[in-house]
Symmetry: C2
Subunit: 173 residues, 2 copies
């Protein structure tokens, strides 16, 4: 198992830029699923030695592919079982000040500016429907907000950490 050099593992990209090869993709996929993996265990899964994967992870961090590691917390266990997406109709564009005001709300997890009839899309997590009502009132009270449209999540069927699955589809392009 430790002699990966004589197997099919020898082929390297051999190109100038920074194209991720199969090793990098497997490493990123494994770390996206569990960032607590030891380098030794990680090396066993990809058929590389611990120093080799350590070196690759360091380069992946430096290149920006691996941004950081984070603890994934559980909303319901923390007292916030209600997840919802809120479309916010805004009066105009470029009102970053109001955006930042909403970013201060602890219930707001994500703020995106999107195309379409709404200007912003929020992902929020609340303790109860009453808390969601209060949050919507605060969002509506933000200057420049014309209206909101909420979609309460009934159940979540898939929740991958961003880009957990780095499959062949990426290099097929």
């Amino acid at each position: 198992m430790p002699n990966a050099r004589n197997t099919e593992a020898v082929r390297k990209p051999a190109s100038a830029a920074r194209p991720l090869d199969g090793f990098d993709r497997k490493i990123l996929g494994a770390l996206a699923a569990d960032a607590d993996l030891s380098y030794a265990e990680l090396g066993q899964r990809v058929c590389l030695s611990a120093p080799a994967v350590h070196d690759r992870v360091k380069k992946l961090r430096a290149s920006g592919c691996l941004r950081r590691t984070a603890a994934i917390l559980d909303g319901p266990a923390l007292g916030k079982p209600l997840l919802a997406f809120v479309h916010v109709d805004s009066a105009g564009w470029g009102k970053t000040q109001e955006l930042m005001a909403m970013a201060e709300l602890p219930e707001v997890e994500e703020i995106h500016c999107v195309t379409g009839d709404t200007c912003m899309l929020l992902k929020v997590r609340c303790a109860s429907s009453r808390a969601l009502e209060a949050l919507l009132a605060r969002i509506y009270a933000t200057p420049g907000v014309k209206g909101t449209r909420s979609y309460v999540v009934l159940s979540t069927y898939l929740e991958r950490t961003p880009q957990a699955e780095i499959t062949e589809s990426l290099e097929a392009d």
Copy 2:
């Protein structure tokens, strides 16, 4: 600094259930921002010893508040700069088989069943607008899908890891 017992840190919840105190919240917040923190450094930030925070983290894992740790990857750096939310109008409810079919697509990050006029809400990440077009075609081809409505993300202003901010608002309820 290491003698936290004689400071204000002494007060404990002393209740039977499992209510997170200020230490737990600070620990979770710090780990949500950076899961690579050592217990020693984590202890310095919360004014606790390394074994104490280790013990708390273990309990937080056991109680389910801390689900896991994950590497946060960068979409653009990985060749998927296009983020979009897709509302999927479904013919009926309870079609979990079609849901699972969409979960197989590597571009799909999240699948939620939501209230409102659409039955499902997807978060997807693609390499290009052409890739998004192809993905929408595949989604539309899924049996039971009546139509889709897409919101392409122009820019993201806030992207917290779930429940990164465990502030006072949680226990204010």
